[in-house]
């Protein structure tokens, strides 16, 4: 499955077979992670906050391809996407492994994935440099096989996502 997570509405025409899913996070009720470690130690694999996030992180885990569409702030994901990524920690275990020479969390049943990040907002050079480092770091913790970042103008976001979908349909 291919998953498009966006922090804004996108007018997309998706195939009906469910192979490509789009979740507009801006329409969902998702609270901040409270850092209780419940998803690791009390109800492993399940967040104790039963809001819309619990429908999203299983999709992230299941997908072999993810597209994150987000505004960038201070070289990181802005609030809507960041909040969801924080709430996705039930897909990891508390336990630590050595991965690519560093200590990182073990994953649950998380499909290795190809990631495309469509980043928008006024992004200057230093901010891009920070963001590229961040996404590389995220890749270690989110089971990315590879990733690429597309910096686009806000007005071009939807077009870029549509182009990506067309590429998938043709392949």
């Amino acid at each position: 499955m291919k998953l498009i997570l966006s922090d804004r509405p996108l007018n997309l025409e998706l195939p009906e077979n469910g192979e490509i899913r789009h979740v507009d996070l801006s329409t969902l009720q998702i609270a901040n992670c409270v850092g209780c470690f419940g998803c690791w130690t009390k109800t492993p694999g399940r967040c104790v906050i039963r809001d819309d996030a619990v429908r999203v992180y299983p999709l992230i885990a299941e997908s072999d391809t993810v597209v994150y569409v987000s505004r960038i702030k201070y070289g990181g994901y802005d609030t809507i996407m960041k909040r969801m990524l924080e709430r996705a920690i039930p897909i990891q275990q508390a336990f630590i492994r050595i991965h690519r020479g560093e200590t990182h969390h073990l994953q649950r049943a998380v499909t290795p994935k190809h990631a495309t990040i469509i980043a928008y907002g006024a992004i200057e050079q230093e901010e891009r440099s920070i963001f590229e480092r961040l996404v590389a770091r995220n890749g270690y913790n989110m089971n990315f096989i590879d990733h690429r970042i597309l910096y686009v103008a806000e007005s071009e976001v939807e077009k870029n996502v549509k182009d990506l979908i067309e590429t998938w349909k043709k392949s």
Partner: protein, 205 residues
């Protein structure tokens, strides 16, 4: 001597390790400190408090390799409604991984925020193994570094430090496994249960 404002940006502020780091900082700091926790609804109050402090210390955990979203939102609030007086911003960040270098990205984010918004940037302390180190025999290492860090801010001779448990990665993996097993035990959860590959099981709502 002006006081230092400590803001705890941890999502579990009242029960957080960041609070413990903040307490150690206050204990070792030659200057007086004021401690506050960042919440959704107290941003304006915290900004008002910043007017009376020459230095601001942000204490928080690394969260998905970056700023916890509550702290991010507070920074965005400061950007839209800045204080008249901008204190020097120092950073004490801890991560659960052994390598304190995993905090470097978030420090760069905060430097960028400071550059963009006219805040002088101060000292940095990055703590690896930050979830458990305070309850380990290596607590003294954190104490020592926090002492240097606090003195640097008080003396306005800013610098960057890092510390972690002085053990190999394999031993860290073993030690952290024990730590989390004890954590799960408090709730009657076994290792096998904690290792479940299942995400949102069939009985999920």
């Amino acid at each position: 001597m002006e006081k230092i404002l400590i803001l705890n940006g941890s999502p579990r502020a009242t029960r957080s390790n960041s609070k413990r780091y903040a307490k150690l900082f206050s204990r070792h700091c030659p200057q007086e400190t004021d401690y506050r926790e960042i919440r959704k609804n107290n941003h304006a109050e915290l900004r008002a408090g910043m007017e009376h402090h020459a230095d601001l210390l942000l204490v928080f955990p690394l969260y998905a390799d970056a700023l916890p979203v509550g702290l991010l939102n507070f920074l965005k609030f400061l950007e839209t409604t800045p204080p008249d007086h901008r204190p020097v911003v120092s950073v004490l960040v801890n991560c659960g991984f052994l390598e304190p270098q995993q905090c470097e990205v978030v420090v760069r984010m905060l430097r960028l925020f400071c550059q963009r918004n006219g805040y002088p940037f101060g000292s940095v302390l990055m703590v690896g193994g930050g979830e458990a180190i305070l309850d380990s025999p290596f607590r003294f290492l954190v104490n020592r570094k926090i002492k240097h860090f606090a003195k640097s801010i008080a003396a306005r001779q800013y610098g960057t430090w890092q510390t972690t448990m002085p053990i190999g990665k394999r031993l860290f993996v073993l030690a952290s496994t024990q730590y989390w097993l004890q954590y799960g035990k408090r709730f009657g959860i076994s290792k096998r249960q904690m290792q479940t590959p299942v995400i949102e099981g069939p009985d999920s709502e």
